[in-house]
Amino acid sequence: MENEEQIKRKKMTFTEEESRESSFYTTQEMFTTKGKTRLRWPPRNILVPLDGEEEGKRILPYVTEMAKSYKSKVILVTIAMPFQWSLATPSIPPPTTAALENHLIPLIMEMRIEGVDVVFGILRDEREKAIKDLVDSTKADLVVIANRYRNPWVRYLKGKKLSPLIDSLRIPIVFI
């Protein structure tokens, strides 16, 4: 049986923990003409959408350092196309879910060894729509997107869809 003092101490610790959280994480709202941008910094949850390509995975060491600095949780999601043919890479069939998982797991293990809290998943959906839905469902505060390592043709095709995505997301996006 816990006496009153123990219960009081537990309650106090919880309140102090909450207070620590609120002192470390600050939420600011920035107003743009199209609506609010939610800005919680340092970010608690960092969403990293990948597309199963080698180039995209190069950003992970950077994300690891970022997450370590901010003690953030990383949500790593591979979003693969739901159909078998892609205009961007017509000759390459989309990898199977098992292949994507096998490639992702060593990278996740590396991040976990570094002390980063990582959760991961694989989605088959249209990339931009999936990112938008994931930001809402995971309560992400930051999205990190691989952009600079791609070849110009793929970048051109993806760039077409990038502008509406940037417009629709209400949180900061890091392009690497």
Binding site: T32, E65, S163, D167, V174
Partner: protein, 170 residues
């Protein structure tokens, strides 16, 4: 950055970023950017929307003790298709505006510098990144106003393509 960590019965103050060591990233053997960022580049537009990213930049710079360079890319000529009735601001006007923004950050003990460049944003931005040895660029989403929207929507993605260091868009 110091934060207080509470443990049952005692309060411990520790440096939250003390475990973070600087690392370099890039393609092949050439490191092109670092984390934590040493130098943050912030393009500030002449409109009010650009100014709204300053609190975010201040938080970021204070967290990592980074240097900040505010800069404005002024149009090289006096007439623009996007804003035909608005003349390009003079260098003096741009400078005054940048200095007032710079003071806002300096009050918060942030190391700030400013620069004014004339040219096309997508072309000059990466030159400035190289010249200043910047590790991070912070961009704002441009305001979207009926006629201007078409021009500015097309501007952000090419700029993102050109920049060779991580870019935060807010």
């Amino acid at each position: 950055m110091k934060t207080k960590h509470y443990m049952p019965g005692k309060e411990v103050e520790q440096d939250t970023l003390s475990h973070t060591t600087e690392k370099e990233f890039g393609i092949g053997d050439k490191p092109q950017f670092r984390w934590p960022p040493r130098h943050i580049l912030v393009p500030v537009d002449k409109d009010e929307e650009g100014k709204r990213i300053l609190p975010f930049v201040a938080t970021l710079a204070k967290t990592h003790n980074s240097k900040v360079t505010l800069f404005t890319v002024g149009r090289p000529f006096q007439w623009s298709l996007a804003t035909p009735s608005v003349p390009a601001p003079t260098t003096k006007a741009l400078k005054n505006r940048l200095i007032s923004l710079m003071m806002e950050l300096r009050i918060q003990d942030i190391d700030v510098d400013y620069d004014i460049i004339r040219g096309e944003k997508r072309k000059v931005i990466n030159d400035l990144v190289n010249a200043k040895d910047a590790d991070l660029v912070v961009l704002t989403k441009r305001y979207r106003d009926s006629f201007l929207r078409y021009f500015q929507e097309n501007e952000l993605v090419p700029v993102l393509d050109k920049i060779k260091v991580p870019t935060v868009v807010i």
